[in-house]
Symmetry: C2
Subunit: 159 residues, 2 copies
């Protein structure tokens, strides 16, 4: 796949990182908004508790940036967070790592096709967008959980 | 604001349109998955029924592309859809309009700051991303409604 080098670039790599980190700040607020027990236990419609969804975001974020950057796809290592504090600690560690690693993605890797984790064939851009969209999607579900618990979620537009 | 014309363009305008239309195809499936009465009446946690959310996506999509394109911000005109068929008809009309209008957005308007609908100050890109993200966010909530109704939603990754 060719590198896009013309004036048709609507969104730069830096825009995409800032966009993602803005969403990640909002997701962090949603994690914080849950009472500890509800974070790990409450759900609706037979779905997962929000802590499971947030752990999924963590399993995806840095491993995807590593994979897009290097072509090496390695699963997230480490135990699943068992408390809100552990979850937030992992979250914050990834915030720093994303800021370090994302700008080092070689430009051609955004358009290059690859098999993410040996399974999902799409461009680097497609894989990163999938991670961001997956986070927005499940966080929206977390909003329903919070509302059902009588808790006002953070404003969607405040990042 | 300057036009981005370097090799740092990770996502082109065409990528962004395709990405959005992929999401819109999925949202259309979610609208279809609701039984007619539940689409307009069912909700959880005191939130809006999914038909209200879908009507919001319609009020945003083409008016935002028009505004980013021309700098003229005009509210969506027309009555609120009252049936699933009306909703899907408006949806499909906007699918065609977006494909026509989006490629005509002048390149510099993606980065130029503007006040969307006289209220929301951000770049054209920011406003379009907001519309896409808002759709993903509320559609995720529609997934919880469907699950709570015992209906299996369409797969998130199938666009």
């Amino acid at each position: 796949m060719a590198i896009e080098t013309t004036a048709s670039g609507a969104m730069t790599a830096d825009d995409l990182l800032k966009h993602w980190q803005g969403h990640r700040r909002l997701t962090r607020k949603v994690i914080e908004a849950f009472p500890e027990d509800k974070l790990f236990q409450f759900s609706l419609g037979g779905m997962r508790p929000f802590a499971e969804m947030a752990a999924e975001f963590i399993r995806m974020a840095v491993p995807i940036v590593n994979g897009v950057s290097t072509g090496k796809w390695e699963e997230f290592k480490g135990p699943k967070p068992a408390t809100k504090a552990e979850l937030l600690q992992l979250w914050d560690a990834q915030t720093v790592q994303l800021n370090e690693k994302f700008p080092k993605i070689p430009q051609h890797r955004f358009r290059e096709m690859d098999k993410a984790f040996g399974q999902w064939e799409t461009s680097g851009l497609g894989t990163i967008l999938y991670a961001v969209d997956n986070e927005i999607h499940h966080r929206g579900q977390g909003y329903v959980y919070l509302r059902a618990l009588g808790i006002t979620p953070p404003n969607f537009w405040e990042r």
